[in-house]
C-alpha cells in the first residue's frame, strides 16, 4: 500500500506488520503523553521528587540521552571535518539517533521545569555564568543543526525527492553539510561539557564539585570526552539492534570496525583521565571539604554503595576499552556487543552518579541520606521519548534511504 513511499531497491515488511509494531510502541507513547499532560496540568507534585531531590530521574535521563547521542556529533566530526569517508555509510543513522536523543532531551526538559510557559526565560533573561544556560543554548542550537542534518534525508524520500525544489534543497544542503557539521561539533563539544559543568560547579555539593580551569570544572572536559568516546558505541549498539530486528546486514563490517576502533581509543584515554580525576577528587578535593571519600558512598549499599564507582570505571570503562582496542576482540561479534553495551551502561552510570549521588548525600553534618524512587509519571515520561525515538527510527528506516549500503548488502531479487 505504501510501496510508493518506500525507497527503491530495498525490502520492507508488510504495512500491516509495521503498523502493528508501531501500535505497540504507540501505546507506550500514549501512556507517556498521558503522564506528561498530568505533569503539565497538575504540576510536578506528580513526581516523587522533593526539596532534597530537585534533580532526579529526568535530569539523569537528559544527561544520559545526550551522552549516548554524542555519537552523532562525533561521527559527524569524523566524517565531515576530519574526512573519514567510510563513515558516510553510518553517518545518516548516527544523525537520526542524535535527533531522537536530543529531541528526547528537549522534551524531558520541557516537562521537568516547574513553569514550562516561562521556559524561554532561560534565553531571554540568560545568566551567562550558569552552566544550564549554556546547556539550553547549545542544546537547542545543536538540535537545529541535527534537524538540518536530518532534513536532506527526509527530502530523499522517493516522493518528496520528485519535487525539484526539495531535490535541489537536499542537494545544496549536502554540499554545505561540512559547515553545519563543524558548527554542530563546536556546539556539541560545549554543551556536552556544560552538562558536565552542571554538577561540577556545585561547590556546595562536595560529591559533585571538581576543580578545573577558569570556570570549567574537570567534569566539563570529561563529559565531552566520554560522550565522544561512548556515543559511537551507542550508535554501533543501535545499529546492531536494528540489524537484529530487521534481520539484515545494514552496515559493512569495516565501517563498524573503524568506528569501534576510534571509540576504543577514546574510551581508553577517557577512562585514564577519569581515573586520574577520581583519584585527585578522592585524595585532594574531598578532604579539602572535610570528607573522606568513603563518606560519599554509604547508607543504602544498593543505592549508593562503592560498587557503583567500581562498576563505572573498571567494568564499564576499562573492559570495553580493552575489547575495542584489540583488533581480534573487537571483531568478535559477541565481544563487540559486550563492549558496546558496557560502554553505554558506563556512560549512563556516570551521569547517574553525578546527578543522583550529590542529591542523596548529606553535606551538613546533621543531614541524612535521602532515598528517592521515581513515580510512575516520571518513568512514563522518561520512557516516552525512547518509545518516540523507536517510532521515528522505524518510520525513517522504512521510508528513507538511511543505510546507503543496504541495497548492496541485501540485493532484492524480483
Amino acid at each position: 500500500m505504501d510501496s510508493a513511499l518506500i525507497p527503491k531497491g530495498v525490502e520492507r515488511c508488510s504495512l500491516k506488520r509495521f503498523l502493528l509494531g508501531q501500535a505497540i510502541v504507540g501505546a507506550v507513547v500514549l501512556w507517556g503523553v498521558y503522564a506528561m499532560i498530568l505533569c503539565w496540568m497538575k504540576g510536578l507534585n506528580q513526581t516523587n521528587m522533593n526539596d532534597s531531590f530537585g534533580f532526579a530521574l529526568w535530569i539523569w535521563a537528559d544527561l544520559a540521552v545526550i551522552a549516548v547521542g554524542g555519537g552523532a556529533f562525533f561521527t559527524g566530526l569524523l566524517r565531515y571535518v576530519i574526512g573519514l569517508k567510510d563513515l558516510k555509510n553510518i553517518i545518516n543513522y548516527a544523525v537520526l539517533i542524535g535527533v531522537c536523543c536530543y529531541g528526547s532531551a528537549l522534551l524531558i526538559l520541557a516537562i521537568d521545569i516547574g513553569q514550562p510557559l516561562r521556559g524561554w526565560f532561560i534565553f531571554w533573561h540568560a545568566n551567562v555564568h550558569s552552566m544550564l544556560t549554556e546547556v539550553a543554548f547549545c542544546l537547542s542550537l545543536y538540535m537545529a543543526v541535527l534537524i538540518i542534518e536530518y532534513i536532506p534525508l527526509l527530502l530523499e524520500n522517493r516522493q518528496v525527492d520528485k519535487i525539484p525544489f526539495f531535490h535541489n534543497l537536499s542537494h545544496n544542503m549536502h554540499v554545505v553539510m561540512a559547515v553545519f557539521a563543524a558548527t554542530g561539533a563546536f556546539l556539541s563539544c560545549f554543551h556536552q561539557g556544560s552538562l558536565g559543568g552542571v554538577s561540577g560547579v556545585l561547590f556546595g555539593r562536595p560529591f559533585a564539585f571538581r576543580e578545573g580551569i577558569f570556570i570549567w570544572p574537570w567534569t566539563f572536559f570529561l563529559f565531552t570526552w566520554s560522550a565522544a568516546a561512548c556515543g559511537p558505541c551507542f550508535t554501533i549498539l543501535v545499529t546492531k539492534i536494528t540489524e537484529k530486528i530487521t534481520n539484515k546486514k545494514l552496515v559493512k563490517d569495516n565501517v563498524i570496525d573503524l568506528l569501534a576502533k576510534i571509540s576504543g581509543w577514546m574510551i581508553c584515554s577517557y577512562i585514564i583521565a577519569k581515573t586520574i580525576d577520581t583519584l585527585y577528587w578522592a585524595f585532594v578535593t574531598a578532604p579539602h571539604a572535610g570528607f573522606n571519600v568513603m563518606d560519599f558512598y554509604d547508607d543504602n549499599f544498593w543505592a549508593h554503595g562503592i560498587w557503583i564507582l567500581i562498576m563505572e570505571i573498571v567494568i564499564c570503562g576499562y573492559i570495553p576499552a580493552i575489547i575495542l582496542l584489540r583488533e581480534k576482540t573487537r571483531q568478535n561479534q559477541k565481544l563487540l556487543w559486550t563492549a558496546a553495551i558496557l560502554a553505554t551502561i558506563g556512560i549512563c552510570l556516570n551521569r547517574w552518579v553525578l546527578v543522583m549521588q550529590p542529591m542523596s548525600m548529606p553535606v551538613m553534618t546533621f543531614d541524612e541520606w535521602v532515598l528517592y524512587l521515581p513515580s510512575w509519571q516520571e518513568i512514563a515520561t522518561t520512557i516516552l521519548p525512547i518509545a518516540g525515538g523507536i517510532m521515528v527510527i522505524a518510520f525513517s528506516y522504512r521510508y528513507l534511504p538511511i543505510f546507503p549500503q543496504e541495497q548492496e548488502l541485501n540485493p532484492v531479487e524480483d
Binding site: Q115, L117, R118, W120
Partner: protein
C-alpha cells in the same frame, strides 16, 4: 488539483511569515508567561495602609503583650510587644498563629442549637432566651444542679462567669488545677498566706528543676524562655531532673535522669546533704525527719549516682539557688508532697521573697468588685458544698464524681474537656448523662460538637477583657485585652453574654448591675481603666506578701507510683508537653502543626518514644507499629527510638489526636489523654497524675 495543493502551501507559508512578523505569537508567548505569574487562583492580598494595634494574648495564661499588624481592617500578623513586662517582644508560635485562628473556617460562626440531633443556626436573641429559660426553669428547685467547667484563666470575664454561677446559686464551679494551684496550697500551709508563687529563675545562679519545662511552656511560656536566656547570659547552672530529655534538659547544663516518681526522695535527699553543709536558721526541726534520707538509700530509690546527689547538694548550698517543680508546662496540678519537698529546698536556700528566689505574690487588688447582691436562692446555695467537697474544685475530680451525681445543666468555657481531660471515653459517658450542655467555644471542638447550645465567643484578637498577670513574672500586674480586629463572625464576648443572660433571669439582675460589658469593665477598673487602656498594662510594684510564717511538713508519700499494676504494665508512659503543639482547649493551628517533627507525627501516625534498650527487650525496631496499652485505654502508634529517654520509660506528645477541627489537625497522631487516668492528691484533691503504667505490644 495540483495548483490547489501548492497554492494552499503558498498561502500557509505566507501566513506563517506574516504571523511571525506580527506581534501575535510573541505577545502570546509573553502574555502566557505573565498569565502564569498571575494565575487567577493564586490569591493577591489587598494593599492598604499599615497600622499596629496593641493587645494582650489570651491563648494561654501567659498573657504576653502583642501587637497586631493590620492592613486596613485585616489583621495580617501578630508580633510581640516590645518592653512588655511579660514577653518584651518575644512571642510563641501559638500567639503568632492568632490570625489563623481568627480567620479559621473551623470557627463557630453564630449561635447554634441542637435540634433533632443536629446543631443549627439561631439568633443571639433566641440563644440567650433559650439559656435563660433553661436556667430559670430549674433555679428554684435545683440551682446547684448547674455546673460550670472553665479553663484556668485569670481574666475578668472568667471572674464574671464565676460570679454568674454564684449569683445563680450553685457552688459547682470547676477549673483545671495547675501547678500554681498546688503551689498556692503549699504556700498557704507552709507560710500561712494566700498568695501566688513566682520564680525568679532569671536571677538565680543555680536552678534545680524537678521536671519543670522552663522552655517547654512552663509558667508564662515566653517569659520563662526569656528568663532562661538571661540565665545563660549570667552563666547560671541549670540541672534538669526528669526521665525524658525535654527541651529544657537540652538547654540545661546537666540532665539528670531519675526513676519516675522518686522526686520527693531526691528533694529530701538533697535537703539532707545541704543541711550537712550549712544549717539555715530554723531548720533544726527538719533535721530528725531528714535522717530518713540517707545518701545511699536516696541513690538507690532515685537511680541517681550518690556522688551526683552530693554534687547537686553542694552546688545548691553554695550558690544563689532555687528549686522549681511542676512537670512539663505545669498545666496539671502536682503532688502536694512533692511540691512541699521542693519548697523545703527553697526555704533551705533562704530564697523566699529574695532576688533570684521564690516570690510570694499577694493579690493586686486592682479589680474593684462591688459587693454582690444575692437573692435567697443564691444565698441558700452558697452554703452548700461543691460536688468535689471542700477540696480544690478540680475539673478532673468533678468528672470523676459525675457518674454518681446528677447535673442538669453544664456550662463550658475556655476548655474542651472531651479532649483535654484524662480518659476521654469516661468523660464522654459522663457527659451523655447530662441533659443540657452549653459550650462557649469559639471553635467547633470535640466538646462543642456534643453541646446542646453553642454560644460562640470572640477569639483573642476580637476580645475585650482584662487579665491579671501573675505567672512566673517578676512583677505582677494587669493587662488590657483590646479588640484588634472587627468581629469576623456572629460572636460575642463571654462577659457580654453573661451580663445579658443574667439580666433576664429573675433574682440575678442585682448581682449584675452594669448596663453592659463595657460599663462593667469601667466600673471594676475604676480610674485605672484609662491608663490601662493607654499603657496596655499596669504593674503592681508592691507585690510581695509579708509576714510569712515558716513551717515544715512531713510528706505522706516518699515515692509517687504511677497508676497501674507493675506486673501487667511494666513500662511507665510519660505524656510530655511540647511548646510546638498547643495542648490546651485550642487545637494546634496549621502553622503549629507544620513545625512538628516527623518523629512526632508522620502522615496520620503518632509516635511513642522508646529507648533502644527497652525496644530491644520488646523486640521493636524504629518506626514499627505498636499498641500502647494502659489500664485506661490503648492506642496504635509507631516506635521512635530515642536515646533521650530512660530505659523503662516511654513518652508521647500531648496535643495530638484531635477528632474535631480541620484536616490540618484532625486525625493526626493519638490523644494521649485517652490513655491516662487520674490520681487524686490526698491533700489538695486535684488530679496529680503525671504518668501511667503501660505495656507495649507489637502489632
Amino acid at each position: 488539483m495540483k495548483i490547489y495543493r501548492r497554492s494552499f502551501l503558498a498561502l500557509g507559508v505566507g501566513a506563517a511569515v506574516g504571523t511571525a512578523l506580527s506581534p501575535l505569537p510573541w505577545k502570546m508567548v509573553d502574555d502566557s508567561s505573565i498569565w502564569s505569574q498571575n494565575w487567577p487562583w493564586t490569591p493577591v492580598p489587598k494593599d492598604g495602609a499599615i497600622s499596629y494595634e496593641d493587645s494582650v494574648c489570651t491563648l494561654c495564661s501567659g498573657n504576653c503583650g502583642i501587637k497586631a499588624r493590620k492592613i486596613e481592617d485585616r489583621v495580617i500578623k501578630v508580633e510581640g510587644k516590645e518592653d512588655h513586662i511579660v514577653n518584651d517582644g518575644g512571642v510563641c508560635l501559638l500567639g503568632l498563629s492568632g490570625p489563623q485562628l481568627l480567620y479559621s473556617p473551623t470557627r463557630v460562626k453564630s449561635p447554634l442549637k441542637k435540634i433533632k440531633g443536629k446543631l443549627r443556626k439561631i439568633s443571639w436573641e433566641d440563644a440567650i432566651t433559650e439559656l435563660s429559660e433553661k436556667l430559670s426553669g430549674i433555679r428554684d428547685e435545683k440551682s446547684d444542679k448547674v455546673a460550670v467547667i472553665s479553663g484556668n484563666s485569670k481574666s475578668l470575664s472568667t471572674l464574671l462567669l464565676k460570679r454568674f454561677l454564684k449569683a445563680y446559686g450553685s457552688p459547682n464551679y470547676f477549673t483545671r488545677a495547675t501547678m500554681n494551684d498546688t503551689y498556692k496550697q503549699v504556700i498557704k500551709k507552709m507560710h500561712g498566706v494566700d498568695a501566688t508563687p513566682a520564680f525568679n529563675i532569671d536571677k538565680a545562679d543555680y536552678i534545680l528543676s524537678f521536671g519543670s519545662g522552663i522552655i517547654d511552656g512552663w509558667g508564662s511560656p515566653v517569659n520563662s524562655i526569656k528568663a532562661n536566656s538571661k540565665g545563660v547570659d549570667n552563666s547560671r547552672k541549670l540541672v534538669q531532673i526528669e526521665s525524658r530529655m525535654s527541651n529544657t534538659a537540652i538547654v540545661a547544663d546537666k540532665w539528670v535522669p531519675i526513676k519516675p516518681g522518686t522526686d520527693i526522695t531526691l528533694a529530701y535527699g538533697i535537703a539532707a546533704e545541704v543541711i550537712k553543709m550549712k544549717e539555715p536558721k530554723g531548720s533544726a526541726s527538719l533535721k530528725p525527719f531528714l535522717n530518713k534520707y540517707g545518701l545511699s538509700k536516696v541513690a538507690e530509690v532515685t537511680g541517681i549516682d550518690a556522688a551526683q546527689i552530693t554534687e547537686m547538694a553542694k552546688d545548691f548550698a553554695t550558690n544563689k539557688s532555687i528549686a522549681i517543680c511542676g512537670k512539663g508546662a505545669g498545666n496539671t496540678a502536682g503532688s502536694f508532697d512533692e511540691f512541699v519537698a521542693v519548697h523545703t529546698l527553697n526555704i533551705l536556700a533562704n530564697n523566699i521573697n529574695k532576688k533570684g528566689g521564690v516570690q510570694v505574690i499577694k493579690d493586686s487588688g486592682f479589680f474593684n468588685w462591688s459587693n454582690m447582691k444575692m437573692d435567697s436562692v443564691a444565698k441558700a446555695a452558697n452554703k452548700k458544698q461543691a460536688i468535689t467537697g471542700n477540696k480544690f474544685p478540680d475539673t478532673e475530680s468533678f468528672l470523676n464524681k459525675l457518674p454518681n451525681e446528677s447535673v442538669e445543666v453544664l456550662l463550658i468555657a475556655n476548655d474542651n474537656p472531651l479532649y483535654t481531660m484524662a480518659d476521654s471515653d469516661a468523660v464522654k459517658k459522663a457527659f451523655e448523662k447530662i441533659p443540657y450542655k452549653v459550650s462557649f467555644s469559639s471553635f467547633m471542638d470535640e466538646t462543642t460538637e456534643i453541646a446542646d447550645l453553642v454560644l460562640p465567643v470572640n477569639v483573642n484578637l476580637e476580645q475585650t477583657d482584662v487579665v491579671s498577670i501573675t505567672e512566673s513574672v517578676q512583677k505582677p500586674g494587669i493587662g488590657y485585652v483590646a479588640p484588634v480586629s472587627d468581629l469576623q463572625f456572629n460572636t460575642k464576648d463571654l462577659g457580654e453574654i453573661l451580663i445579658e443572660t443574667a439580666k433576664t433571669i429573675d433574682g440575678m439582675a442585682d448581682a449584675f448591675p452594669w448596663d453592659d460589658y463595657e460599663s462593667c469593665i469601667s466600673a471594676i477598673l475604676g480610674d485605672k481603666l484609662e491608663s490601662l487602656q493607654e499603657e496596655g498594662v499596669i504593674v503592681n510594684e508592691d507585690y510581695r506578701a509579708k509576714n510569712l510564717s515558716f513551717k515544715f511538713i512531713a510528706p505522706k508519700n516518699e515515692v509517687l507510683a504511677p497508676k497501674g499494676d507493675k506486673g501487667v504494665y511494666p513500662l511507665v508512659l510519660v505524656p510530655y508537653d511540647s511548646i510546638r503543639i498547643p495542648n490546651g482547649y485550642i487545637g494546634a493551628p496549621p502553622f503549629a502543626v507544620k513545625t512538628v517533627s516527623d518523629k512526632v507525627i508522620k502522615g496520620k501516625d503518632g509516635f511513642v518514644e522508646i529507648n533502644p534498650v527497652t525496644a530491644k527487650q520488646l523486640g521493636l525496631s524504629d518506626k514499627s507499629s505498636v499498641k500502647v496499652k494502659t489500664s485506661e485505654g490503648s492506642c496504635k502508634v509507631k516506635v521512635n527510638l530515642s536515646e533521650q529517654i530512660m530505659p523503662g520509660v516511654v513518652a508521647m506528645a500531648k496535643g495530638l489526636g484531635h477528632t474535631a477541627y480541620d484536616k490540618y489537625l484532625a486525625g493526626k497522631g493519638v490523644n494521649v489523654n485517652n490513655l491516662l487516668g487520674t490520681v487524686e492528691d490526698p491533700v489538695t484533691g486535684s488530679n496529680c497524675a503525671w504518668a501511667i503504667r503501660c505495656k507495649i505490644e507489637k502489632v
